[in-house]
Amino acid sequence: MLDLLTTLDAWLVAPLTDYAFMRRALVGGLALSLAAPPLGVFLMLRGMSLVGDAMAHAVLPGVALGFVLAGFSLPAMSLGGLVAGLLVAGLAGSVSRMTGHREDSAMASFYLISLALGVMLVSLRGSSVDLTHVLFGSILAIDDTALWLIASVASATLLVMALIFRVLVVECLDPLFLRGQGIRGGLVHGVFLGLMVLNLTAGFQTLGTLMAVGLMMLPATTARFWSQRLEGLIGLAILIAMVSSTGGLLVSYHLGLPSGPCIILVAGIAYLASALCGRHGSLLERVRRRATPLETDENTCTPS
């Protein structure tokens, strides 16, 4: 028993008590896990799961420009990423409205241009090691400034989400109802995309620009296998993200692997396990499917 406790302590607790960088990484990961998954849930429900991925690519040139101008400075890189992300989102939205083309095609075009620009900028100035750092993040680099940034972004995200929650929900189901009430759906959409870009830029330090979207989407898509209610989806997605962040960090510490991919892979394993044996729509549920008994209440209507 004592051996077990000692092993658990060595695996789960010691890395955090012994090293300040692990504690900072954990706090950063947990803060991101609070803010990013609710955004992921709404992205998933709006059929925009891949938009997060596109935006993660889109912030790259801004991050790279910050890196080129100010070296490995978190505020400069984050600001650059934020501006680039908002610019791509704004341009994609404008082109889509002007031309009547679907927003995803405009966004795909702009993020590809943006990505190419970003890679070009990084390779002009830095080495491939720097590029890897920007793409995949590093827990070692999280300092107090980074933590403040992540914590502020997470707090602001939760606050704004609470303020626009009802509008977002109604807009997802029936955007015309909202327009009829005089609410501009485009504004809500813009605020939502802005929050997404903020979280992606906050997450790139721990996870890297491309991995940051993983902590947003994978917990959300995993939660879909366990809950059919919005509150359930959001709560579960946050829980899954927190467990993945902690688990991924510990795995990365013990096995000497990069932290970003580790965190996302732990979330990925949760997704695969849920797809196999989750409560709703999983493979196991399909195999075991039983018919629910006939309803006898007065509301059961005969088909027309």
Binding site: L45, V167, V169, L173, R229, N299, T302, S304
Partner: protein, 247 residues
Amino acid sequence: MSRLSLETLTLAQGGRTVLENISGTFEDGAITALVGANGAGKSTLIQAIMGLLPPLSGKVSCGVPKERRAWLPQQLALDLTFPMSVEELMLSGCWPTHGTFKRYGPQDYRRMHTIMQRLGLSGLAHRPLGELSGGQRQRALLGRTLMQEAELLLLDEPFANVDTHTVEILCDTLREMASAGATVIVVLHDMEQLAQLANCVLLLAGGHGQWVEPETLLERHHAPARRHAHAPFISLNLPDVPPCSTY
């Protein structure tokens, strides 16, 4: 008395003129059927009345505040995979009074339960929308407009793919809303439903509109309507009938 009128209204969609020089008034407390073949411009007109489509020329004069105008789109327009319950959908009808921030109170829940009972939805409050039948969903959507206390109600083919029980409930509710003073505009394809429900008809064909009495329209189509009570107005052209006398 009328709070909604069209003045030489011309509407276009995607650079193509759909309706030209439509004029007339929709009386308060009346149910107007909007009829016409597919592509005649019924949905375009509804969009213009809702203020979602700016006219090419002419105007829609509407004295009903925006938040009291309700539009029941065809069910296909809704994302039914969204995890929302009947209760949540109906409470969203409180938007005019509650907006984005105000909490729903006990009186809102009481009102919702009364409306649910009236629409035969009791016991379904927590049922996800995706698990409802077409008829139950349509009743829930009408429930939202009742929660909204809509004074102008536009319905786009509300009876498509719903059971007869639902059609009866919807018709009764629409009549009640109209007798309470609401202006109701319904896109209809079915002659029998038109005969039961409409006080007046706005017929759209060939880009033009004509106001006619339902009886006149029914008389003109009496024989085919009897033989094929549910035959849609697929090949309807502007009939040579006198205009609706009350409008």
